[in-house]
């Protein structure tokens, strides 16, 4: 069954969608949409480094994404606003990454594959990494769900309930880095943030509780992966962007429906 590249691609897309959905909800709730972008852009630098030192792309991307996430967490609240910091770090990391890639002598790499993903080239071992990473992220989030939710609502409330909101923030940040690292192959650096945010945002108008929003987001993400790949096959369009397009169309539809029911009441 895994011999078919379309099957592998579909499974990879669904795996990433499952990890991205609950994480994306937190990204939306905490207004850290830029955070996903920044971590993803930094990952290009990781790709360059991993090619230089002949590590797996996943390891390099994960290392740089983690480093980026920790740096931003450390620097936030010290002089610059979060979005400024993220803007500086995201785009400079991307620039340094692109320059580093050009300096690599003797290695021809297909940069487009990392910027836009190459889901159709997903191998069995990639699939293992993606599902392993996704399982880790989902398990982490389920385990810390109440704490994460409380820390998202209010920092003092978390302290008063005996949780450390800084630790919860760190858990989110780490999960984000893992998700970005496993998702690079599927949708690419430029569209990872889309896969995080769009399904979660689309789920909002249908959800009545935080849990249902995460589940609906997972369903929307998985459907986008399946339908996007199918569309890419039929219309001969790039796979990663097609997945994001399906998600965006679903977002528009659900928002319209939500807006309409709100105004009928």
């Amino acid at each position: 069954m895994l011999d078919d590249f379309m099957t592998r691609a579909t499974l990879a897309g669904i795996g990433v969608a499952f990890a991205a959905a609950p994480l994306g909800c937190f990204v939306v709730w905490r207004r850290m949409a830029y955070f996903g972008d920044a971590t993803a852009h930094a990952a290009i630098l990781g790709v360059a480094l991993s090619l230089t030192f002949q590590m797996s792309v996943f390891t390099g991307a994960l290392a740089v994404a983690l480093l980026m996430a920790m740096t931003v967490t450390l620097l936030s609240g010290r002089g610059y606003a979060m979005d400024t910091l993220l803007g500086v770090m995201a785009h400079s990391a991307l620039a340094f990454g692109l320059v580093a890639v050009s300096l690599l002598s003797g290695i021809r790499i297909d940069l487009m594959a990392y910027l836009f993903g190459d889901i159709l080239a997903v191998s069995r071992s990639d699939l293992l990494v993606i599902w392993g990473g996704a399982a880790l992220v989902v398990a982490l989030i389920i385990w810390r769900w109440s704490q994460l939710l409380t820390a998202t609502l209010n920092e003092e409330l978390a302290y008063a309930s005996g949780y450390d909101p800084k630790r919860e923030q760190l858990i989110l940040t780490l999960s984000l880095a893992v998700t970005v690292a496993v998702a690079i192959k599927v949708v690419g650096v430029l569209l990872i943030a889309a896969l995080l945010i769009i399904p979660a945002a689309a789920a909002r108008s249908l959800a009545r509780s935080p849990e249902s929003m995460a589940l609906i987001a997972a369903a929307i993400g998985a459907f986008s992966a399946v339908a996007g790949l199918r569309a890419a096959y039929v219309f001969d369009t790039p796979a990663g962007p097609s997945i994001v397009c399906v998600a965006a169309i679903l977002f528009a539809c659900f928002s319209l429906v939500g807006w309409q029911t709100k105004h009928k009441l």
């Binding site: 905490r30 109440s146 409380t150 209010n154 003092e156 409330l157 909002r204 509780s209």
Partner: protein
């Protein structure tokens, strides 16, 4: 019985010392209010008590097993986060639905259980926060300017609710307020803070203390007069505030 003991507490953020040598004791069942101008360290003191801020010197001792109910200053729930009142109340507490309903009743909003948090008015929202803090039957309630964003009748009603809660549950209450007029009537004890404890005592004593007058000056007299005026219309237990104003 002593619930909270604060000894020689100092809190600094970098080179900036916001609290120095603060001593304070909270006994069971009393209502204590901390007043002070902006930047006087009121919130830092509360944060030190709940463990959100590490003291740079001194210490905070809680009675072993002390149950704290915390009502935050301002809680912004992003409109993208769908959460019902019930889910919100049970988030950090393993309690039954019945307990939720009871707590909501004590806080004066019995019918909100199934509503979405994003649909509540300011006053309803603060009462849900109060109910959430009450749900574990705390020994003490901590309120950090819990009436921010409410209009004057709204916050007066909220503080009446607090007095009512104390009467029903007997829990101690430590609150921060900048609304001196309301505070004066409801508190057993007032602590006037400005980086250190300027003065403390019964509302009447504090209001006549020179340190307090130096901090709040004539503006306070105006606020108290306003309050007295209001209460002559609405309530019959404004004696405390009248004493305080005089």
């Amino acid at each position: 019985m002593t619930l909270i003991t604060v000894e020689n507490l100092s809190v600094s953020y970098g080179a900036n010392t916001v609290l120095r040598h603060v001593d304070m004791v909270i006994e069971a069942g009393e209502i204590v209010t901390i007043v002070g101008p902006n930047g006087s360290g009121k919130t830092s003191l509360l944060r030190a008590i709940i463990g959100a801020t590490k003291p740079s010197a001194g210490q905070v001792t809680l009675k072993p097993g002390l149950k704290i109910g915390y009502v935050p200053q301002k809680l912004h729930i992003d409109p993208t986060l769908p959460i019902s009142v019930e889910r919100f109340m049970r988030l950090t507490n393993r309690v039954s639905r019945k307990n939720c309903v009871e707590a909501l009743k004590t806080a004066g909003v019995p019918d909100l259980l199934t509503r979405q948090m994003s649909q509540l008015s300011g006053g309803q929202f603060q009462r849900v926060l109060l109910a959430r803090a009450l749900i574990n039957r705390p020994d003490i309630l901590l309120l950090d300017e819990a009436t921010q964003g409410l209009d004057q009748p709204g916050s007066a009603a909220f503080y009446h609710q607090i007095e009512d809660v104390r009467r029903k549950t007997g829990c101690a209450i430590l609150m921060i307020s900048h609304e001196l007029h309301v505070v004066m009537s409801a508190s057993d004890r007032v602590i006037c803070l400005n980086g250190h404890v300027c003065c403390e005592g019964s509302p009447a004593v504090v209001a006549s203390a020179p340190e307090y007058r130096a901090l709040f000056g004539t503006g306070t007299g105006g606020a108290l007069a306003l309050y007295r005026h209001e209460h002559d219309h609405e309530h019959d237990h404004s004696k405390d505030s009248r004493e305080a104003a005089e």
